[in-house]
């Protein structure tokens, strides 16, 4: 190869490596965790700036020198790279604390975009920070002096390709370890249905922050590598549109698929934006450049229109049959729920004390007080608009109480967040189907496992060896549950493709996987055909026989009559009767509530 060709190829490879790291980072944030991070390029930028100033040595402000910046130092390689990752992570943490609140996706995207714009203005105007709009230049190439190579030598160029390759493999390792682990599964569940994930005890704020910080750190690493290669970095290096080229890469390659992200990086930023800068330009200056961005915009729209899942759609994860002896871990019994030994049958497991909820002056619930006895199925019935679902929401923590208290196992839990209540075994289901659509049925079940090995960052990074044992045991437990609910044939189907009735079953099984001590069911048979409804009814009766406590909102009074040991009747925001069905049968108020209102 002539040295010109070598130069061209090695340069492209370096850009490819850098873009792959960035695309993997954005895939983790956007494809896996569902964060529309419109400030993405800012994190690449901060990595580049930090790596540059930590390589450049002390600042040389004019008139003596020509560039002024903070933190100037000469750290040995690869410390600047590591520091860049740290800076990216820290900035992500800071921005995430403000920007990743519960907001509409598009509002969240706007907040993040605005952060990126503010950063551009600050960096441009605060000339003492990173030398303003002129930016930093003459950044020494790493290890060139140690190796005794001229940085302009083709040999050094290939050495740098090696560095990028190593970092790239490490970045892939990190992202892959996360996405294939129980943590990755939690992230995808959160992306598909945040409320359902919360109701299973997942701390979505923490999950989202984790993906954001890891992605931010990796983006910073990509920026650090880039600045070490091109030796200069200025506000012109991280224009806002660069963010969108990475979004295009992830969307084209296939959001949620790491291999797709790599292909996307090859197709969009590299083939499209970098490689074309080597072809001869035509037309007026800047014409090719603007046409490229037109093409990026078209790519995004065309893919979203016709191939919204990208070239390599997210993989449907299958679980292999468990290997005997692999698990040193003893699984929880199937189904796993524990009636605490301190909770004798019929003692109050949960107590609602004068719960009240107002929406802008309207009382959805005026006064609800009742207890839920351990080991029983309690029905919560009443005509439309009685406030049943609102009460269930207050018990689960999804709806804040206007007044009153919720006691669970004798402790006041009124101020606990929904996921904290779920972690204590208070698990709810939803009236609308709330399955994780892009997870398989089996994954929907396994994701519910509380405190799974590998659902934290450290555990995930310890890779399969660390969490496989437990996961196999949990998969076995899930399979047993599928068997019990006669859903084994559907175990590898995407939950989003199931029929309405099957989704209800998935939701109940998922709740059982979360080891509930009290199951709150919101119309578990709504919209289900009679045969399946009958089956669900039998399952619930079996679960009670196993000792599970349930509180069930239900419209079909025949079901309540057959299934519930005690019934709470609500009408117009109040509990109007409470007791075993035998006493309610002679209660005129109940009949009036239903027939008159």
């Amino acid at each position: 190869m002539s040295s010109a060709v070598q130069l061209y190829v090695s340069t492209l490879l370096i850009y490819l490596g850098v873009d792959i790291i960035a695309a993997l980072a954005l895939n983790l944030q956007f494809g896996v965790a569902g964060i529309v991070n419109f400030s993405f390029i800012l994190f690449q930028a901060v990595g580049a700036y930090v790596a540059a100033v930590l390589t450049l040595g002390p600042s040389t402000p004019p008139p003596a020198g020509f560039q002024d910046y903070v933190l100037g130092a000469t750290l040995p390689y690869p410390l600047p790279l590591i520091a860049a990752a740290g800076a990216g992570g820290l900035l992500s943490l800071a921005i995430g604390v403000v920007g990743l609140r519960r907001l509409r996706t598009d509002y969240q995207a706007m907040v993040l975009l605005v952060f990126s714009l503010i950063a551009t203005i600050v960096v441009t105007n605060e000339t003492g920070l990173f030398n303003g709009s002129n930016g930093l230049s003459l950044v020494p190439k790493p290890l060139a002096d140690v190796l005794g190579l001229s940085p302009y030598d083709i040999g050094y160029q290939w050495f740098f390709v090696g560095i990028v390759a190593v970092v790239c493999v490490m970045a892939y390792g990190v992202v892959h370890a996360i996405t294939s682990s129980p943590l990755g599964r939690n992230l995808r569940a959160m992306r598909d249905n945040e409320h359902a994930a919360t109701a299973l005890g997942k701390d979505v704020t923490r999950l989202r922050m984790l993906a954001f910080v890891v992605g931010g750190a990796l983006a910073a690493v990509s920026g650090a590598l880039l600045v070490e290669f091109i030796s200069a970095w200025s506000p012109g290096s991280w224009f806002l549109p660069e963010t969108f080229s990475f979004f295009a890469a992830v969307i084209v390659g296939g959001a949620g698929n790491n291999f797709g992200a790599i292909v996307g990086a090859l197709l969009v930023p590299v083939a499209f934006l970098e490689a074309t800068s080597f072809i001869p330009t035509f037309g007026r200056a800047g014409l090719v450049e603007s046409l490229k961005w037109v093409a990026v915009g078209l790519l995004i729209m065309i893919f979203l229109a016709f191939w919204p899942r990208g070239i390599f759609p997210e993989r449907r994860r299958r679980f292999r049959a468990s290997r005997t002896g692999a698990a040193s871990y003893t699984p929880a019994p199937s189904p796993c729920f524990v009636r605490g030994t301190d909770q004798p049958v019929d003692s109050a497991l949960l107590e609602a004390r004068s719960l009240r909820r107002e929406y802008g002056g309207v009382h959805a619930v005026e006064e609800a007080s009742f207890t839920v006895p351990t080991g029983r199925i309690t029905g919560l019935i009443g005509p439309n608009g009685a406030g049943k679902t609102t009460v269930l929401g207050m018990l689960a923590g999804a709806v804040a109480v206007s007044a009153g208290d919720v006691l669970y196992q004798g402790a006041v839990i009124t101020r606990l967040a929904p996921h904290q209540r779920a972690q204590r075994g208070l698990i709810r289901t939803f009236q609308q189907s709330s399955e994780f659509t892009n997870l398989s049925v089996l994954e929907n079940l396994v994701v519910a496992v509380p405190r799974a090995r590998g659902d934290g960052l450290a555990g995930a990074l310890l890779t399969k060896r660390y969490w496989r044992g437990q996961q196999e045991a949990e998969v076995d437990r899930a399979r047993a549950l599928l068997e019990r609910f006669a859903m084994t044939p559907q175990q590898d189907e995407l939950a989003g493709s199931l029929s309405g009735g099957q989704r209800r079953l998935v939701e109940i099984m998922r709740a059982l996987m979360a080891c509930p001590q009290l199951l709150l069911l919101d119309e578990p048979m709504a919209g289900v055909n009679p045969t399946l409804a009958r089956r669900i009814e039998e399952h619930l009766a079996d679960l009670r026989a196993d000792g599970l406590t349930m509180l069930m909102v239900e419209h079909e009074l025949g079901v309540v009559d057959r299934l519930c040991d005690a019934v709470i009747v609500m009408a117009r925001g109040r509990v109007i009767a409470h007791g075993p069905m035998s006493t309610l049968r002679v209660n005129q108020d109940v009949l009036d509530a239903y027939l008159i209102g």
């Binding site: 309405g500 009679p530 009074l557 209660n587 027939l595 008159i596 209102g597």
Partner: protein, 263 residues
């Protein structure tokens, strides 16, 4: 008109639903439902939750696909029409919730009800609505989101009336109202409305009041008519309670019967 039944004549002027099967993909929710509402009649459709009442409403208004059967108004087949066209043809609809434009004033809500009519006519009809529901008159400049539950419901019905529908669908008009207010809405307003010649189809979960105010009733269970007949007769049947409350209600009846004996 060469019809064999005396009932078909007036029905052709009102609403006729014949053998309608409808649902949301998958198993149909309505499994071949038929009913007629003649002008001046109030027909009640009652039934427990999940019986298919809302689907029936949506099949008539055209927001759910009808897979077989026909719907006619005034003898014209409207089965394949868009909802807009149905309302132009004289179909008025008051949904159970979100039945007014929250950000518009009472007056504006009413004039939106007459969107398809010439401006001058609308003013006359709004005056009519105000004479029918005088309590709305002092509120004409108030934004709908600031109305009470009862006022809202009257506005919802009034809004539908501005278009002078020949057929009016009321979807659980008393759902969020107190029993007293429900009674006023049903016995005073809905009944009086029918007396002006409108064909009213009243869907209610709370059966007793609906049966008291209506001429004819259908009890819907599982997407099919379980019981139908003149409302007075339906009200008198023992099994209506069973349909609603399952076995529980029978016990209540037994106990109230005992109470009666004792007194």
């Amino acid at each position: 008109m060469p019809t064999s039944s005396g009932n078909a004549g007036p029905a052709a002027q009102g609403l006729e639903v014949a053998d309608v099967v409808a649902g949301y993909g998958g198993a149909p929710v309505l499994k071949g439902l038929s009913l007629t509402v003649s002008p001046g009649q109030v027909v009640a459709v009652v039934g427990p939750n999940g019986a298919g009442k809302s689907t029936l409403m949506r099949a008539i208004t055209g927001t759910v696909r009808i897979s077989s059967g026909i719907v006619t108004i005034g003898g014209v087949d409207i089965t394949k029409w868009s909802s807009e066209r149905r309302s132009r043809h004289g179909l008025g609809y008051v949904p159970q919730s979100r039945d007014v434009f929250d950000s518009l004033t009472v007056q504006e809500n009413l004039s939106m009800g007459g969107y398809m009519l010439p401006k001058r006519e609308v003013d006359d009809r709004i005056t009519n609505v105000f004479s029918l529901f005088p309590s709305l008159l002092p509120l004409r400049t108030r934004v709908a989101s600031k109305l009470s539950g009862g006022e809202r419901k009257l506005l919802g019905i009034g809004r539908a009336l501005v278009a002078t529908p020949t057929v009016l669908l009321l979807d659980e008009p008393t759902a969020s109202l107190s029993p007293e207010l429900s009674k006023v809405i049903l016995t005073e307003h809905v009944r009086r409305l029918a007396d002006t010649g409108v064909a009213v189809l009243l869907v209610e979960q709370k059966a007793l009041q609906a049966l008291e105010v209506s001429d004819w009733a259908h009890v819907l269970v599982g997407g099919e008519t379980r019981i139908s007949g003149p409302s007075g007769e339906v009200l008198a049947r023992r099994d209506i309670r069973e349909v609603f409350l399952g076995a529980a209600a029978l016990a209540i009846e037994a106990s109230t019967a005992e109470d009666g004996k004792r007194s």
